[in-house]
């Protein structure tokens, strides 16, 4: 028997199609103000559209209630490693929704969108300055899309020189899965590079792997272990000497802002996850933006378009969309995720020169503070100071109390904290990757540390509390095997 209370809580989860009542509509449309135009023959038209019929009020209440089942940055500390979940200034949302940005059509002539193009040009310049590179294309629509653009440029560079035998891309074993997936999409063979005992690139293995077939290296700096590779200059030298392109995955750019420029280290190309480093409200998983920023060797190959600035005869500055001479092509139908670019540029303007350098300062201190205060409670696979994020391991808890990283993560939810990234990087057993970001206060970090210590204690005293966590969420742990074995991917009428 389900109680009334239980039934009501299930009703709140009813899908739109189950809420549908014939004749209801949640939006109004005007009557036609033009003379009636004859419709095409019936045979071309759709019989029915099986869509829900719900009122505006009901739709608002349904989605508002659903929204409250989420954790979010505005409600919870969200130290999700590798995702840089910093607080997003509200003014940037307001700016991005200005009609002069939100309503302009992507195919308007350049002369009618000078404000938008100037904004893009200025953002290109800022990104070039921050990374020490020479050119920038804002076209890629996400970090992985930026990776794809970057590796396409490496491919074009080698093809232009007749070096089609260069078919291997080196990728450290700590890399995000997007790196090998990207290299494969570009038609390259992936060679995995091991990390050494300190979490740096294994130089012996690198030297052994480079040769005439080397296309390039994809490397994340700092690495996904939250560590700055102290061999990096040597790594870059070895790859460049062998004729390879050095690609920097900018996922962890937050740690480097104002501290070091990848261009100065000899990188040929990098992407920046604007939605991480330069804020974007993340939206439940996108949109983002993944501009590529390149050094001299790859300038001709940038994806199209790039915003160009010139002066007309009267000395007025004119901004135009241009295709680089040997471009690798179009990443999407238009010019990139402009709305995301507006937010990122507004954020950069707010921070200015000093603010940008403070980001890495505060992000690195915050992560090291957590490292110092949780060391001893959780295993630290690489016992050295970290950059903007710290990777712990729950292997001690697993061994001694049968508590996994997953259990720790789920128990954090009971304390109102979003779990860290789990089981990544793959080379760390029972990994828990914590990235506090620079926007969190010492008080928030202290609260997190207290909770993490309490959970380590609970692992000893009351392991079931962790195994069964979370306890007070709208759903307890899910049967993910069932979801994958019998995929049920849309509403169906027999429900």
């Amino acid at each position: 028997m389900t109680t009334l209370l239980e039934r009501l809580s299930q009703d709140r989860r009813q899908l739109l199609m189950d809420r549908s009542v014939s004749g209801r509509v949640g939006a109004t449309l005007p009557e036609s103000d033009v003379p009636h135009q004859p419709l095409p023959e019936e045979g071309l038209l759709r019989d029915t559209l099986d869509f829900p019929e719900v009122s505006e009020n009901e739709l608002v209440r349904y989605l508002s209630q659903l929204s409250q089942l989420n954790f979010s940055i505005d409600h919870n500390f969200y130290p999700l490693g590798s995702c840089t979940m910093k607080y997003n200034p509200k003014v940037d949302d307001e700016i991005a929704s200005m009609p002069g940005f939100a309503e302009i059509h992507p195919l308007q002539p350049d002369a009618t969108v000078q404000g938008a193009l100037r904004l893009m040009w200025e953002l290109q310049q800022r990104l070039i300055e921050i990374t020490g590179m020479q050119g920038c294309s804002l076209a890629p629509m996400a970090g992985a899309d930026g990776e794809f653009a970057g590796i396409l440029m490496a491919r074009a560079y080698h093809q232009d020189r007749g070096n089609t035998q260069r078919n291997k891309v080196l990728i450290p074993d700590s890399a995000h899965g997007t790196n090998p997936a990207t290299a494969n999409m570009c038609g390259f063979e992936v060679v995995t590079l091991p990390s050494d005992a300190n979490g740096n690139t294994d130089l012996e293995a690198l030297r052994f792997s480079v040769g005439d077939d080397l296309a390039g290296l994809m490397i994340t700096l700092p690495s996904t272990l939250g560590l700055f590779d102290s061999n990096i200059l040597e790594v870059v030298r070895v790859v460049r000497d062998a004729g390879g392109i050095v690609y920097g995955d900018g996922a962890n750019l937050n740690a480097l802002l104002g501290r070091v420029k990848l261009g100065d280290l000899g990188f040929d190309v990098m992407h920046s996850n604007l939605h991480k480093t330069f804020t974007q409200p993340h939206g439940g998983g996108g949109p983002g933006a993944g501009p590529v920023i390149v050094g001299e060797r790859l300038l001709p190959y940038m994806p199209t378009p790039v915003v160009n600035r010139s002066a007309d005869n009267d000395g007025n500055l004119i901004y135009t969309l241009k295709a680089p001479p040997q471009t690798v092509g179009r990443m999407g139908a238009f010019h990139g995720n402009f709305g995301a670019l507006v937010r990122a540029y507004a954020y950069i303007c707010t921070l200015g020169d000093q603010g940008i350098a403070n980001i890495s300062h505060d992000a690195v201190i915050n992560a090291n503070y957590i490292l110092s205060r949780l060391k001893g409670y959780y295993d630290l696979p690489y016992d050295r100071s970290c950059m903007h994020e710290v990777v712990f391991s729950a292997r001690n808890l697993k061994r001694e109390h049968g508590i996994s990283a997953l259990d720790v993560a789920k128990r954090l939810i009971d304390y109102g904290i979003h779990p860290p990234t789990m089981y990544f990087p793959l080379i760390v057993e029972e990994a828990l990757m914590v990235e506090p970001t620079e926007t969190e206060s010492k008080e928030t970090l202290d609260g997190f540390i207290e909770v993490m210590r309490a959970i380590a204690q609970e692992a000893q005293d009351a392991p079931d509390l962790l195994h069964n966590a979370p306890h007070d969420t709208p759903n307890t742990r899910l049967d993910e095997a069932r979801a994958a074995r019998r995929p049920y991917l849309r509403w169906q009428p027999e429900d």
Partner: protein
Amino acid sequence: MTPENLKYSQEHEWVRMESDGVAVVGITEFAAESLGDVVFVELPAVGDALEQFEKMGEIESVKAVSDLYSPVSGTVSRRNDELLDAPELVNDSPYDSGWMLHVELSGDGELDKLMSHTEYQAMIEAQN
């Protein structure tokens, strides 16, 4: 828990010889347990030729995917299509209803390259 009458490969596949000379192939309970909840199995089609120790398919759990390697050479004569709808059989009954293929052997002496039950048992204990 590991049946004594089977032969085993390094990659945790088992082979059972039927009286009609057909080899039945599956994965061991140890492999199924290490994978966790099996959610999908991709197997070769009936009629496909297999090479001993070469890739013959894939097996997926919720968050991992592993290659399956054929323990013998030969031609697939039957496939356990029940696994398409109920991949959990691999977890629930790895040596019985969780079988994967029937193979008509083409190679000679290949069974000698496989491990006995005692050898396999020793290998997984060493791995543990």
